[in-house]
């Protein structure tokens, strides 16, 4: 490991402060306030002591882990992307987040108290759902390091700046070259897709099932079995979507390699909506002699049309970004590079404007010059008349 990358010359207090603030809000302030509010409500309603004790213990854990994560966040943010120093603090923080969440289970005590006070809820099952996106968050640190390492070394002058690719030799299938991709962007999008399409729906289903089970009513059995089917579909559709989301995020805007998975994702999302919407048919016939049939397929199709509009969006994105991407020499879609490209575009625009102004000035000057002899010809000097 290059110890020199921990040097204070790479250190930015402002950036470190910003990341630390974000970490503090996420891991310390918000959870702490939530538990504090819980304790206040409990005190107001003269709630059970064991819940109060639990909330107190959770608050202590939040304080310990929250402070550590805030400090780690500060160091992570302070060092530049692509440096070993940032990578080390980043990966430590993301692993610690998993330990943090696991420790909130308090070795099953949290689950027991929820079961006693509300209903039986398998918190370990919920934790497993959380674990996969958290694992992706760990991998994102690797991704960020790999993506920015070259730029970091280029800035340090340790390697030569990469030459721009010649657009003439580029064919559309070359868009799938791995060197155009950003691991960080891909993992980030895969993670958010996994959360949105698998983890949250499954967590809601786990909560619903726990709630229904606590009712102890036979009539909800068929609904529970429906929820099991939906869970299976959520996994079967959500996991491929997350894989596609990786490639969509991995490749830059304007590439076919981003466009194709994006469109396939939209198509799967349409099917996902259809499945989650029970095909627009809700049938409840668990109560003897009564059946309720709700057909909302038209409304669901309307919702799907709204989602299908994303295809239009990705077509436009391809058309609008492709020339720019080509012009920039097919770079990967990194934030820093985007900033550089944006700055370059701004400068080029200013230069073009300045050149135009200059041309205008010259034209105006030439016109005025041409007018002067004419004036002189129409108004000859008096001495000449004589």
């Amino acid at each position: 490991m290059n110890i020199g990358e921990f040097d204070k010359k790479h250190f930015s207090l402002v950036k470190g402060g910003l990341t630390a603030t974000a970490h503090a809000l996420k891991y310390l302030v918000i959870p702490y306030v939530l538990f504090a509010v819980g304790l206040m409500v409990l005190a107001g309603q003269d709630g059970p002591q064991r819940v109060g004790d639990l909330l107190g213990d959770l608050q202590t854990l939040v304080l310990i882990f929250g402070i550590v994560l805030t400090v780690l966040g500060f160091f992570k943010g302070a060092y530049p992307k692509g440096s070993y120093s940032r990578f080390l603090f980043g990966i430590t923080a993301s692993v610690l987040v998993i330990v943090y969440v696991f420790s909130l289970l308090l070795d099953g005590r949290t689950e027991d108290i929820i079961a006693q006070e509300v209903f039986e809820l398998d918190l370990y099952l919920l934790f497993i759902r959380f674990f996969f996106p958290a694992l992706l968050a760990v991998l994102m640190q690797f991704g960020e390091f790999a993506d920015h390492r070259r730029q970091f070394l280029e800035r340090e002058g340790k390697i030569e700046v990469k030459e721009r690719e010649d657009p003439k030799d580029h064919q559309f299938y070359h868009d799938f070259r791995l060197r155009y991709g950003s691991l960080y962007n891909g993992l980030k999008l895969a993670r958010s897709t996994l959360i949105g399409f698998v983890v949250i729906p499954l967590a809601v289903i786990i909560l619903l099932k726990a709630g229904f089970s606590s009712l102890n009513v036979q009539e909800v059995d068929s609904m529970m079995s429906n929820l099991d089917d939906i869970s299976a579909y959520m996994v079967m559709l959500g996991v491929p979507m997350s894989v596609l989301a990786f490639f969509k995020g991995f490749y830059p805007k304007g590439s076919f390699s981003r466009f194709i998975p994006a469109v396939v994702m939209v198509l799967i999302a349409l099917y996902w909506i259809w499945i989650l919407g029970l095909g627009g048919q809700f049938v409840f016939d668990s109560i003897e002699d009564i059946s309720i049939n709700l057909d909302f397929s038209k409304l669901l199709i309307l919702l799907m049309v709204g989602t299908a509009l994303w295809i239009v969006y990705y077509v436009l994105e391809l058309l609008l970004y492709r020339p720019e991407w080509k012009e920039a020499g097919f770079p990967s879609d990194l934030l820093e590079e985007r900033k550089v490209r944006k700055e370059a575009r701004r400068k080029a625009k200013e230069e073009r404007k300045a050149a135009k102004e200059k041309v205008k000035e010259e034209k105006r000057a030439a016109k005025e010059k041409a007018k002067e002899p004419e004036k002189e010809a129409s108004n000859p000097p008096e001495d000449k008349k004589e």
């Binding site: 009564i290 309720i292 909302f296 409304l299 989602t307 436009l316």
Partner: protein, 392 residues
């Protein structure tokens, strides 16, 4: 981000927001009770019969305080037999209920008796039957994008619409008009309100042991209590046999209603010498009634019988038993004077819960009359849907 992409993204968000608003505006009135159905109690639809169709109308109030019109609100009924086969379908007329309005609509239950096969129809009219029926309420909402249908199944006891057809052969009277000879046989029956005013045909046939037959056909207007007399012409010989007690004659009254029939028959016993001390023992359920005597409850059931001339003027024992469908049982034992045409009342004092069962109940009850005279025993037993009502 580029302007066209921003515009597309905003359009998608706006589109989804509109859909979300539509969904919320659809669900909100359902959660807050803005949409509802109210059945007007006390306005129970009376059944009517018209061209073979039994109709019952129930007014319902549909409240739509939602944001969208309710369109095509339809109430329909499907009648099935015990095996689940569809017997008849009654389709309601679709109604539209505009948003913010309350509409009173009549739900019509219509059962076309001619849609039923003859056996089912006959059972329905004369014996009463249990029919399964599905009621379905369907309507479109949210700009016709959501269709809700609620189906409820139930079984329903129907009829009998015509009951207690009884040939009163013990009250039969011979009649001589000049050279013509007749026998007059009364018969009674009861018809439910829905069948009131309907014209039925009654054919009363006479058949004696020598194979002589005669009949009379008459039109009968159905009412709650029908009492008619069939005047059957007889030949001199048949009349003679009837009067000297050697006719061994049977009288059968067949009632034809809506292409269905039922009948009752009895043995004519004029002229005496039948052998049994008592005959034609009949529980007269049509004349039974219920009484509330300031907290004491009484069921009165009349019964009739005829006594052979050889035994008249003596006493027989009458043991009358009563059951209701909820397991209540009582009985009474009384002595009756043996008259030529005897008539007596059985009085049952019953507790309040048994009274509550039968008051306004249309309950199936069972009554058994056992008459004994020395070693002779005669029994008459009837199952009866009681129509008893006591005004408060």
């Amino acid at each position: 981000m580029k302007l066209p992409l921003v515009a597309t993204r905003l359009s998608i968000v706006a589109f989804k927001l509109i859909v979300a608003v539509i969904v919320i505006l659809s669900i909100l009135p359902l959660l807050t009770g803005g949409i509802g159905l109210d059945m007007d109690e006390g306005d129970d639809g009376a059944m009517t019969l018209e061209d073979g169709v039994i109709r019952a109308q129930m007014p319902i109030t549909v409240r739509n305080d939602g944001y969208f019109d309710i369109n095509g609100l339809t109430v329909s009924f499907t009648f099935k037999n015990q095996d689940g086969d569809v017997l008849a379908v009654s389709e309601g007329i679709p109604m539209d209920i505009p948003a913010g309005e309350e509409t009173v609509a009549d739900i019509e239950l219509a059962l076309d008796l001619y849609d039923l096969d003859r056996q089912v129809r006959s059972d329905l009219i004369f014996n009463g039957t249990e029919m399964l029926f599905d009621a379905e309420i369907s309507a479109k909402y949210t700009l016709d994008m959501v269709q809700l249908s609620v189906r409820a199944g139930s079984d329903m006891e129907w009829g009998p619409f015509i009951s207690d057809l009884q040939v009163q052969e013990w009250s039969a009277q011979p009649l001589e008009e000049g050279d013509d000879r007749f026998v007059q046989v009364p018969f009674t029956l009861r018809a439910e309100d829905a069948f009131n005013g309907l014209q039925a045909v009654a054919v009363t046939e006479y058949l004696d042991g020598d194979g002589y037959t005669s009949n009379v056909t008459q039109s009968v207007q159905l009412t709650q209590d029908v009492y008619e007399t069939a005047k059957i012409p007889l030949s001199q010989e048949a009349y003679g046999r009837l009067m000297n007690g050697t006719a061994n004659a049977t009288v059968r009254t067949t009632l034809y209603v809506l292409d269905c029939l039922t009948y009752d028959e009895g043995q004519l016993g004029m002229g005496g010498g039948g052998g049994d001390p008592i005959y034609n023992i009949q529980l007269q359920m049509g004349g039974s009634y219920l009484q509330n005597l300031s907290g004491s409850y009484l069921i009165m059931i009349p019964f009739s019988f005829q006594t052979d001339p050889a035994y008249q003027g003596q006493y027989a024992n009458a043991f009358i038993e009563y059951w209701d469908s909820h397991g209540y049982y009582t009985n009474i034992n009384q002595m009756v004077y043996m008259e030529p045409s005897g008539w007596a009342w059985a009085e049952f004092w019953i507790p309040q819960y048994a009274f509550d069962t039968v008051n306004n109940g249309d309950e199936l009850i069972q009554v058994k009359l056992t008459m004994t005279y020395q070693s002779w025993t005669g029994i008459n037993e009837q199952y009866y849907y009681e129509p008893w009502t006591v005004s408060p």
